[in-house]
Every structure is written in C-alpha cells, then in structure tokens.
Amino acid sequence: MTIEELEQIAKSVSQENAKYDFEVNVCMDLACMSQGADRLREALEKTAEASGKKVLIRRTGCMGPCSSGPLVRVDPDELLYHHVKDTNAEAIVGSLGGEPVQGLQCDLNEHFDKQVRVVLENAGHIDPEKIDDYISRDGYKALLTALTEMTPNGVIHRITESGLRGRGGGGYPTGLKWGTVAKAAGELKYVVCNGDEGDPGAFMDRSVMEGDPHRVIEGMAIAAYAVGANKGFIYVRAEYPIAVSRLTTALREARRRGLLGNNICNTPFCFDVEIRLGAGAFVCGEETALLASIEGRRGTPKPRPPYPAVSGLWGKPTLINNVETYANIAPIVRNGGKWFAGMGSERSKGTKVFALTGKITNTGLVEVPMGIKLREIIEVIGGGVPDGHTFKAVQTGGPSGGCIPAEMLDLGVSYDALMAVGSIMGSGGMIVMDDTSCMVNVARFFVEFCMTESCGKCIPCRAGTAQMFTLLTRICEGKGTMEDLDLLVGLCQTIKETSLCGLGMTAPNPVLSTIKYFKNEYIEHIVHKRCPAGVCNIEAPVPEAPMEVLA
C-alpha cells in the first residue's frame, strides 16, 4: 500500500458514489439502532430499489443528537430527518428530487453551528464497516505519511506541538507520554487503547469505535511507529457488542489492505492489533488495572510508579491512551500540530467530545473546542432544560466528577478550570440536572456507583465509599445529623488523599462539590427533615429510641 494506491481507492469510491443521484445516510449507532434504525434501513433499501431512483442507502456512525433518533440525512441536500420510522421510508424516497418530507425535518442548526468536528469528522458520513469509505476521507494517509516521510521523533514532536492532552480524564500531555515510552529501554513495547468506557451517561468512545473504528486503529498504528512498538491491544468492554464487531471488521479489512501486519507500506514497520474484552468492571478503566486485566489477572490497580510507560504489559514499556486521544492523532499528523494548537484554550488544546445527557433537550454527542463556556454547551447546543424546568447543576466527568452549579455556567471548559471548581474533565460525560433533582440523592447515587465498582484492594476506597454511602443514605432518609455531615467531610478528605488509584481519589468529588455548592439542601434534609426537590422519601419525624450499636 502506498499513498498513490490510497488515492486510487479514494478516487474509485468517489466514482462509485457519483453513480448515485442521492445519498441517504442512516445512523446505525446503538441509540438509533435501539429505536429501529435497522428496520428503517431495510425499508429504505426496498423502497429505493422499487422506485428506480439512483439512491445510495448508507449506514453510518453517530450523527450526534441521539435523543432524536433514528436519524436520516439526505445528501447532497443535507436534509436531516429525525424520529424516522420504517413507515416513513416511502415518503423519504418519494421526496428525493422534490420537496423535503413535512414534519420529519429537524431544525438543529444552532446545535451544529457551534460545534467543531475533528474526532467526529467522519461520523455520520462513512460506513464504519467499509475501509474504502474511510480511505476516501483521507483515511490512513496520516499513517503512510508518518511511515514514509517522518521519523518517529518527528511524529512525537508534532504531537507535542499540538498540545494534545489525554482524553481519558487525566489530561496528561500525550506527546510527553509518547516521548517517555519511546525513550524507555527495551526491544519489546506495546500500545494499548483504553476503550473501557464505564462512566454512567458517557458514550463518546463507544460512538467513535462504532462510527469510525479505523480512525482509532490508524491512531494506534502511528503511535506504535512513534514509540517503537509492534503489538497493540484494544481493550473494549463487552457491553459494547456493536463496537466490538465493527472493530473486528475494521481490523480484518486493514490487514487485508496491508495497513496492518508486516512491512506496512513496504517499510520495516510491523504492527498488529488484538481486541481484548473487559468483563464489566469499571475499575478496569484505570490503566494499571486494565493492563492486569489484559494479562489475564484480577483487574486491580497497583501503585505507580513504576508507570506503564516504563513497566506496563508483562513488565514491558507500554503506551496507553484513550480511544478519543487516538482518534485525534491522524488529523494532527495530517494537518500539523499548529493547526490543532490553534483550537482551544491556553492549556487545553483542540476539541473535546461530550456526551450530553440528563435533563436536556438535545441528548447526544457534541464536539466543541476547548474553552467553550458551559452555558453555550448546555443552553445553545444542548437546547437547554426541557419542560419549563430550571437548570440546577451539571455533573462533569462521570461518577467521580463534581456538580457545577448555575452560577458557574460561564466557566470555560478546560482540564484546569474544571479541576479548580472541584470537578474533573473525566472522559467527557455531562449530566444535566434540573430543579427536580435532589443533590444529596445525586451524590448518593454516584457514591453508590463508586462503592459497587471499587475493586476492594485499598481500604479507603473499599470501606470508605461504603461508609460515605451509609452516611448519605441516613441524610436522604432524614435520619442524619450535623455530626454526620462533618464526619462525611472528614472521611471524604481521607479517601481523596489516601486512595490507591483514581477511582478512590475522585470518588468523594460528587459529595464534596454538592456540599460546597448545595449545602442548604443537606441542611434542609438534616435540620428540617424535608427534601426541597421532593425526591427523597422522608417520613414524618417520629421520636425514636436511640439504637445501641454493639461493639
């Protein structure tokens, strides 16, 4: 495979596409599939064939506004239809070349206008199971450029220059990490892709793997070339069967095209990737636990240092990055580090994909430049809180993130800004809450998640999260005291400072941030025995005999 051959493939794809007058793109992401996108596509294919029009029915990855699914986009007119049912197939095919179908069209201009798509540039435009579709949109060009025109150091330099930081949550500078692995001693090195997205309400990585799997593989191959590895692992959770099947297809097609395997592009570079399935443990998203799981051991974290960059898989230097980080690599190599660094804020460059969920009109995936105000994401792109309710808080960073109140909506989204207000970027989940959410109950929900997902290795996380849960439950039930609240805060500090891995260290975030910004709700529960949002079921206070605890 050479760059000329890639261009040849791209040309033949566009020639093939030119045979059609219309392209009907059907979103086949998990969310749309679950709403019947599969049946819709079949219906569209049948009607298109019967109509005799030259129509290409293409299945694509996630288009973004998942709550409006199933989504269909008709090109070249760029008409977006939402809530399409298989019974609408005839109307859509019939409308081709004429007036758009009434009542199906969705007006999401504002939603899309504010977005900048880098990671999701192909999502909704290519068939994730066709490598040629990916190649036709500059796919694998970056890999071949890197292999034939750049030194490994040159690649690392370009990534460093871009200012890209790890998208898994930690925000570690990617270029620095690559440089460390490249410098680590040893012949045998590994690259690992962390696709164990476990946060409740987060689905960025799933959509990338389902909608554009080759982008991840290309990013990994470039990384392997840069750090001197020739074996890669993609660790995907087994709860993502569509992602697994599309990745498997993508790997097979990449091997068939000679883009994986031995002597890629007639260079000495050899690289192949294996998929490893996670068995549903949230903690396996922590890098050392993930590596233990790949090795076939119990998925528990271990103290760092040594970092995986020095001693990772089977003790070898290992580069581990998140799906979205790898998805950013190819565009950076293609367009240069400066182009990427031109987007975003001072210390957080580029764009970030967020999964907007909760009490928000446009639930789904959005990609925005770093530094954008939370208000813009929620009110403009997300369409605000539905049903006339008022916005109360947004939780960023999954179960271990903090809740940000309405007063702080003008905060620019970046790693450091979120950290400063007691939350984290995390992998990019954003859960919006309105006046019907009780913040104590919200904290309790996330603590319960961390409690059940703690691996049990270190004491602060294992027993501490369980104690936090007990104390929060007491408060929710109206049985808490102000002493319990003090106890809770003290406990949070110990868990935060002493836990072994990120899960424990960040588990108190939802509690601390809700106590910081919504303390009045805690006091209402404790002192006045009432839940302001009406969520917690507090019985009328009955004087009860103090229960003696045996010890």
Partner: protein, 237 residues
Amino acid sequence: MSESMGVKTLIIDGQELSARAGQTILEVAQENEINIPTLCHLEGLSDVGACRLCLVEIKGSNKLLPACVATVHEGMEVITDSERLRKHRRTILELLFAERNHICSVCVSNGHCELQSLAQEQGLTHISLPYRNPALTIDASHERFTADHNRCILCMRCVRVCAEIEGAHIWDVMGRGINSIVITDLHEDWGSSACTRCGKCVQVCPTGALFDKSKIGSDHPKYPDFLPYLNLMREAR
C-alpha cells in the same frame, strides 16, 4: 536494581540517611529504627501498597506516597509523622474496625493482633463511623485451622504467602469492593480445598481471621518472622 547501583542520601524525619538505590522508603526507615505503621506489608512477601497506613509526606509534593513501594530518590525529604498523616491513619483504622465485626474481647488474637496494636499506637480510642455489622461466615471445615471472615481485613497476606512462598495458591479474592472476600480454591470449603496444611497463612495473618484450632482463647501469638529466614535459606541454596 542491580543496574542502578549507587548510594542515595535522603532525609527522613530530619535525620540524614544513606540508602542503596532501589530501596524503598520503608526499608530505609526500618534500618534506621524509624517507625512507619504498616499492615499489608510483611517482610518476605511482595508489596501491594494496599492498606495505605504507611503513607508518608514528601517535602515539596502534596501527594502522599506509600513507603512500602516508593523508592528513595537523591535528596528527598520524607516526613513519616504529622497531624495530617495521623488523622488519615486513624481514619483508615476506624474504617477497618467498622467494616467487619472486630470484637477484641472475644477474639482469639486479643493481645497478639496487629490491628489492635496499631490502634493503640495511633491513639484510636473510639470509632465514630457507623458499624456495618455484616453477616459473615466462619469456615471451620479445615482439620487444623479456621477462617473467620468477621476478623479479616483483606490485607491479602494469606493470598500472597500461599502463592509466592508455599506455591499452592489456594487463597484468592472473590467479589468486588466492600463485598470482597478471601476464598480457598474456587470458593470451596477450606477443608476440602487443595490446601497443603502448611499453616503459613495462619502465621502471617495479622488478625484473628485465620487461626489454629489447637490454640485456645487468647493464647495465640503468631510468628511471621519465619518468612525472611526462609527466603534467605532458599536464596542460599
């Protein structure tokens, strides 16, 4: 470690000390009779850094490091005792006491228990956290030993000694988080497991979770000191 031979100098609690490169902070502290509380650590077993009691402060860094696994660096300044560390250590011990049913007065290890000694050493006089009082079982199926999960603190010393020293690996962990529990074989009774009856796990158990049936009442000291000696003899062979 051999590749980075060299001597490092560091300061622990104001004392200027020297150490071999690759040594852990804990090793250096113990050589110089500086006490750092430990629980999951045991000389002769691999370190896991799980109990978090040996966390120490490093000057110039806000992050606490586990002394049992953190290696020394040239010029590092270690503080092993401070109000912050004492508070965390007491909370961790409280968490352990409240996690399962640790009732010293009726425990076979009363007076010989590492958890109890640590609580005394750290000045822990009462538990302010709610007791969880879980309903846990006692496995008395083994002809010589008993496993009382009420007293287990999940330090994993039994798991490590069985896998690393005895080579039988009949102990392991089942479940996650607060529901974790040590098991024998694939969760079979200890008595019908492939246990070699060597008793190493009982000797290294810091509490009364694993005990010898032939010992009565509180007359049950444990002797984990055999481990470094055994390792030394094996290396010498």
